[in-house]
């Protein structure tokens, strides 16, 4: 068993367990903490795929940024102690059936496709290539992304502002 195989199965176990905990646990606050675990495991998968830069971005933006924002939102909309933070789920059977159907559908599509089993050798540094691609081929999208982030920031501020 190579290091990559062992790493993949370990990360897959953490990722799947974390994801299940996110959707099944009763306490919303615990849900967010499990989400942080699942997001870090996803970052580990990126690392396995030689995308070290994406791993860093994942940790910074998702595990750092998103989790912090969600925790703040929970603190603003629920009381951290007491019964309010308990959340319930509804129509568990229907949800399970629909998501299982989607999973089986993807499974069949993936099973039919002829997919490569060996990855091609790396053509140079991935991070360097990523930076060059960002600032040459997709520079317009990159700049538009900056505009989008400003718009989202202003929009969020506008929504969440105090009326008085």
């Amino acid at each position: 068993m190579t290091l990559e195989t062992a790493g993949f199965w370990g990360l897959a176990a953490v990722l799947l367990a974390g994801s299940l905990a996110v959707v099944l646990t009763k306490n919303l606050f615990h849900s967010v903490l499990y989400l942080a675990g699942a997001l870090v495991a996803t970052g580990g998968v990126f690392l396995l795929l030689d995308a070290a830069f994406l791993f860093g971005i994942q940790l910074l933006l998702y595990a750092g940024g998103v989790v912090t924002i969600v925790v703040f939102a929970i603190m603003l909309t629920e009381r951290l102690v007491g019964e309010r933070i308990r959340q319930t789920s509804r129509r568990l059977a229907n949800g399970a059936i629909v998501s299982a159907a989607v999973f089986v559908g993807i499974l069949m599509a993936v099973g039919q496709a002829r997919l490569p089993t060996e990855r091609p050798p790396l053509a140079g540094d991935v991070t360097r290539g990523l930076g060059e691609a960002l600032l040459t081929r997709s520079v317009l999208s990159f700049e538009l992304l900056a505009v989008l982030l400003v718009a989202a920031l202003l929009g969020a501020l506008y929504f969440a502002r105090n009326d008085d």
Binding site: L35, F46, D50, A73, R91, S99, G129
Partner: protein
């Protein structure tokens, strides 16, 4: 590990996230499910990119991550506004638009 293993892992995470979106009552819980689904998409993008030897997929994943963060910020701001107005974030009770 072949590309197939990564795709199946992503599919499983996507299905779990979909389950969360469908079953959670709390609006923040639904957003967490959406996060999981978007994450699964990112795994797919990076895996395809690596196995095809084309960096475009990773650039795309980078865009997806940034857009997701913006989406979460706006989504949670909306949740906070809804909580201020309606005093609840239970998705079942937010039926103002129901005819």
């Amino acid at each position: 590990m072949g590309l197939q293993a990564y795709l199946l892992l992503a599919a499983a995470v996507f299905a779990i996230g979909l389950f969360g979106v469908l079953t959670r009552r709390n609006a923040v819980g639904i957003l967490l499910g959406i996060e999981l689904m978007l994450n699964a998409v990112n795994i797919n993008l990076v895996a395809f990119s690596r196995f095809n030897g084309d960096l475009a997929g990773m650039v795309f994943a980078l865009f997806t991550i940034a857009i997701t963060v913006a989406e979460v910020a706006v989504g949670l701001a909306i949740v906070i506004v809804i909580f201020r107005v309606r005093k609840t974030v239970e998705a079942d009770r937010l039926d103002l638009l129901k005819g």
